[in-house]
C-alpha cells in the first residue's frame, strides 16, 4: 500500500482549480465530469508523476461546519513542502493571498499558513537542517 493522493474539500471546484494552478502553481492532472461535480486533481510541477491532490466538493452538510471551525482557530487542513518559504510567502502575498500566520521559525522547520480562498487554511513548511 502506498499513498498516491489526498484531497482538500473546496467550496467551488472551478475557483479552486484556478487558485491551485494559477496562484499556487500546481498543474492540472485530471478534470473529469462525474455527474454534478468533477473529479479534479492537481500535481506539483516538481513531481508531475507524484502524489495527486484532489479538489473535492464540500457538498456534505457537515463539511462546511467543520471547515469553518478549523479556519476560525487558524488550523491548516494540510501542509505542502517548499524550498524557500520566505520567497514563497512574498510571492503569494504579492498575488493577494491572505496569510493567517507569516513564516515562523521553529529551528528545524519554518511554517506559514494561508487561506486557499475555498474555505481552507493551508500550511507551507520549509525544513531547515541543523547546521
Amino acid at each position: 500500500m502506498k499513498l498516491n493522493g489526498y484531497s482538500v474539500m473546496v467550496d467551488d471546484q472551478a475557483k479552486a482549480l484556478r487558485f491551485y494552478t494559477e496562484i499556487l502553481g500546481f498543474q492540472k492532472k485530471h478534470d473529469i465530469p462525474l455527474g454534478e461535480h468533477n473529479w479534479i486533481t492537481v500535481v506539483s510541477p516538481e513531481d508531475p508523476d507524484g502524489t495527486e491532490l484532489g479538489l473535492e466538493p464540500d457538498a456534505h452538510p457537515a463539511a462546511k461546519t467543520f471547515k469553518a471551525a478549523m479556519v476560525e482557530d487558524g488550523i491548516p487542513f494540510t501542509s505542502f513542502a517548499v524550498q524557500n518559504i520566505a520567497a514563497e510567502h512574498e510571492r503569494l502575498e504579492s498575488l493577494g493571498v491572505r496569510f493567517t500566520q507569516p513564516p515562523v521559525d521553529y529551528g528545524t522547520v519554518i511554517t506559514a499558513v494561508f487561506d486557499d480562498t475555498c474555505g481552507n487554511l493551508i500550511q507551507i513548511a520549509q525544513e531547515t537542517p541543523e547546521s
Binding site: E72, D73, T100, Q101, Y106, V113, L121
Partner: protein, 89 residues
C-alpha cells in the same frame, strides 16, 4: 483585580503572553505551535483555549474576529494597576 493576579499566576499563561509580545495577533493554531515548539508545552488546544479565556477575562488578551478568522492580541493596560498600587520607586 483578583482575575488579573490569577491570570498571571500560571506559568503557561505567562508564556502565552510572552509569545503574543513576540508577535501580536495570533490564531489559536499559531499560539499552540509556539508553545509546543519553543517551550515544550504539550497542552491540548482545548487547554490553551481555556487559558486564553482566563487571560481574556482579566483583560490581558483581546480576541478580535477578522472575517472568518479569530486572532488574539496582548493588552498590557490592566498591568498598570499593579505598579500604581505598589509604585516601583
Amino acid at each position: 483585580m483578583d482575575d488579573l493576579y490569577r491570570a498571571i499566576a500560571d506559568p503557561t499563561r505567562r508564556t502565552i503572553l510572552d509569545e503574543l509580545v513576540k508577535r501580536d495577533g495570533q490564531s489559536l493554531f499559531e499560539l499552540c505551535g509556539r508553545l509546543t515548539m519553543n517551550h515544550g508545552i504539550g497542552s491540548s488546544r482545548q487547554a490553551i483555549s481555556q487559558h486564553l479565556e482566563v487571560l481574556e477575562s482579566a483583560g490581558l488578551v483581546k480576541v478580535k474576529r477578522e472575517g472568518r478568522y479569530k486572532f488574539h492580541w496582548f493588552n498590557g493596560e490592566p498591568l498598570k494597576s499593579i505598579s500604581k498600587r505598589w509604585p516601583a520607586n
